[in-house]
Symmetry: C2
């Protein structure tokens, strides 16, 4: 208790440009820009905490909604919190559960006081309020915790406006409800792709002097250029000396564009989820290991990669594991993709420090086959897809 | 090529009593009695080769039938054999595929020349002969390989007699078909629970002077006492100076009874398969981690156990992983059960060496809650269950 959070800019900077930083937490310093793998149910799917450590993971995200339903935040608290329960001694970030309620819960009813929902596991009824989600997150004991917010389709202005007001009122209540002083509570901006709503949200939340700010409600129905444009009007409104967290975004091209606009923290299920579908991240884009062309390919997933999978196994073997439905395939693919992401973030930090980020970004994107820029982020599926698994 | 196999008795012995030995293979010495985890599809389910090594695994089994169908023994050969393909540099044993044809293939038709069967994967038609299974196993390149045999219900004398004659004729053809001299080809005894058939089978196969003998056709429909009785009339008929391999048997109580009768090598899916169902092996019997009683249990799976799972995680966490359907639960349970088996075999070898095996067996069984002695081994399911997964 009494821990003092600190965020220090170590390279780059300005109101909306790439920067490196260091965020001090009770479980260690986090170098930024950072990517947090998602451990929805108190485990990053298929991996041990030791493997995450060996990958150089500085931060993981876990989901309050899932842990509240199973095994219960009170149970986790009785084990001394999430770090002890799952055996991970480095920084953890928990969301508030709001996003999952809006995407996963069967039925939900929002009122000004909170939200009533039905569990996606057993249909049982539950209620979250700003106060109860802060309490649940205090039981989990993550280093960074989130306010309860109301998320919606990034393009639906009519629905976004009342949701924004609620999100702001709930942010005030969350700030007041916080009891522990060893957790950094971040405010969450909403406002979809609308410049004035984003500005309004930033200005409101700045007054509450949060130790960090999350940008919510993106990658929900808009196109990539729309998302980048929304970010470009948002980050200049945020205090330079506080970390900015873009929720649920993790495609390499999106990370590069967002880092360029001054974002510090990312999380996404993308690298782990696509891994389990056999899509492996390389500097040339995604490689689908199930393709017949890899049947007798003796090369590693990505030549030159130093991950455990590439050091020890051929594409042919990894493909065989996927074809045969073997769990080891899911493990090796997950290890490879997270190794790729961790090295990618290291390269980004090194480039910012060397003042060569723009060149790095250009070179990376020239080699990397991205998904279609005109495609919209999946609205419903995308919401489910990006922030829990 | 030109490797010379050797089997040396290092402690105990006699024609049908517990003994320790050392079996020299091209990929290292195997201390016996040994238990081989099953890696049906060129992977011991959920684990890496490195983890198997850390567990102290001296031998693994892989299934020719499965690898022949997927990815193909020719493909494995093009990678320099199974050791290279799967990244395991220690001894491997492959079965002939006969057992799977009789339990897994959709339709099969046996004639004196071989067996025609339909793939359980895609319904395609295939044929195995003694010669083709030896060739397939030479492509896989395991250290120990098996003759093609015909397995049946251990109690069905009428069906067993013609199958026995075929098994013997096929053994002669396998012996003749062998081209590589760096693989130890074992003969397989059949004969169910019938003393005279077992004796006849042992006497026939001894004449062929195999470097080792497998005892097939047990744990297929008979009770445990019937199996032990059949073993007791079989091992005295086998040459003392050759390793004896009891196929598909791996329950701790069965291993103890079989070691007492002079068996050296075991394989079974039991520890890995029950792990994935949440059944964890302890010195008091199986612990079902899904039981509600473990919901808030901070103890490790088995206090005092030095496996990775017990060193790092609580029963409550492992239970949570199972309840939530997380792959890490399957990994931790598999690691624990194989660690249990490897330590168990070490204890058996130490006790034989110290001339205290009888006491060890008695003490172990006094504490271990075994399954019902009167229960029959499952006939059809049991055949599937024990030798591939």
């Amino acid at each position: 208790m009494g821990f003092s959070f600190a965020f220090e800019i170590t390279a780059g900077g300005g109101s909306a440009s790439a920067r490196c930083g260091r965020l001090r937490t009770p479980h260690g310093d986090i170098p930024t820009p950072v990517f947090a793998p998602v451990g929805t149910q108190a485990t990053v799917k298929t991996l041990t905490p030791q493997e995450l450590e060996e990958l150089g993971t500085d931060l993981i995200l876990s989901n309050t909604y899932h842990l509240y339903l199973r095994p219960g935040t009170d149970l986790v608290a009785s084990f001394g919190g999430l770090h002890h329960f799952m055996g991970w001694q480095h920084p953890i970030l928990t969301d508030s559960g709001g996003f999952q309620i809006f995407s996963l819960a069967h039925r939900r009813r929002v009122d000004d006081d909170g939200v009533t929902f039905r569990s996606h596991i057993d249909g049982s009824d539950h209620r979250f309020t700003p106060e109860s989600t802060v309490q649940a997150q205090e039981e989990l004991g993550a280093d960074i915790i989130m306010c309860l917010d109301e998320c919606g389709d990034a393009l639906d202005r009519q629905a976004l406006e009342p949701a924004l007001n609620r999100t702001h009122a709930w942010a005030v209540r969350c700030r007041t409800a916080q009891r522990r002083d060893d957790q950094a509570l971040f405010g969450i901006l909403q406002g979809g792709i609308f410049r004035d709503l984003r500005q309004q949200s930033a200005r409101f939340l700045r007054q509450l002097d949060f130790p960090g700010y999350a940008i919510g409600g993106l990658s929900v129905g808009e196109t990539k250029p729309q998302m980048y444009a929304a970010l470009a009007v948002t980050t200049p409104e945020l205090p330079v000396d506080r970390p900015r967290y873009l929720m649920g975004v993790g495609a390499p091209e999106d990370i590069l564009e967002s880092v360029a606009l001054g974002v510090d923290i990312f999380d996404c299920v993308l690298p782990t989820r696509v891994a389990r579908n056999g899509a492996l991240l390389t500097h040339h884009g995604r490689l689908n290991i199930r393709n017949a062309t890899y049947r007798d390919d003796a090369a590693p997933i990505e030549p030159g990669c130093t991950c455990q999978a590439c050091q020890r196994f051929s594409r042919a073997y990894v493909r065989h594991l996927f074809q045969a439905g073997e769990i080891l395939g899911l493990r090796l693919a997950t290890l490879h993709n997270l190794h790729f992401m961790m090295r990618f973030m290291e390269q980004i930090r090194a480039a910012i420090t060397a003042n060569t980020f723009d060149q790095f970004k250009e070179q990376f994107l020239a080699g990397y086959r991205t998904s279609d820029q005109k495609a919209r982020f999946a609205h419903k599926g995308g919401r489910k897809a990006k922030q829990s698994e």
